[in-house]
Subunit: 102 residues, 2 copies
Amino acid sequence: MVAATRLDRRDLAQRAEALAAVGDPVRLAMVTLLARHQALCVCEIQTAFDLGQPTISHHLKVLREVGLVTVERRGLWAYYSLRRDALSDLAQDLLTLARPQG
Amino acid sequence: MVAATRLDRRDLAQRAEALAAVGDPVRLAMVTLLARHQALCVCEIQTAFDLGQPTISHHLKVLREVGLVTVERRGLWAYYSLRRDALSDLAQDLLTLARPQG
DNA sequence: TCTCTATATTGACGAACTTCGATTTTTAGA
DNA sequence: TCTAAAAATCGAAGTTCGTCAATATAGAGA
């Protein structure tokens, strides 16, 4: 039996979920925004989008659930940060697939 | 004004579309399958999935429309190939985002 | 030309998704 | 304790998506 590939080992459905998360234009823009900062609170993130606060909150939840961002509460504010390691892992999996014999 | 980043230059919505394409578990499995072969016809691809032929055709069309696969007709058969360069570009964009100052 | 096979397209249906308005929860400060 | 502000949750509306059955298209061979 052939050795399991990277994408077999980590659950394919789980990877697809993460890719679908960044596959939404709003969430990809959020990730891009968070990539340029160490941490941003929801109200700061919201100013970058023409969307209601519940919608922003919803998208951040999706990103949180797939492990691409983390939250840290400070007083009234919730500071979101990009999990660069998780995003890097996702990218590496795609890179591996892209290579011959990936 | 700050220089445009990689993800600004290439249209963000277009990138999101490609990520959404591989964000479906069936299509990610298709890409994974195609990554292990040089080219596969639809009927060969279909044997790997418990889905009807129109559904397979639909998913391949989605992957084609975002530029992640190409088709080559040979007689009755349509041979699909992974566009490794396009997948690699997508992965590189995510990698760039994942890096500090991405 | 007729038939058979591989693939694509169409139309429909149910599920999932994005968004919003309204409400709730949580915390800080008066 | 009361109020104000930030964020999360809920419920609903409208849209998109995945899937299928049926049909159409295209090419090969008789």
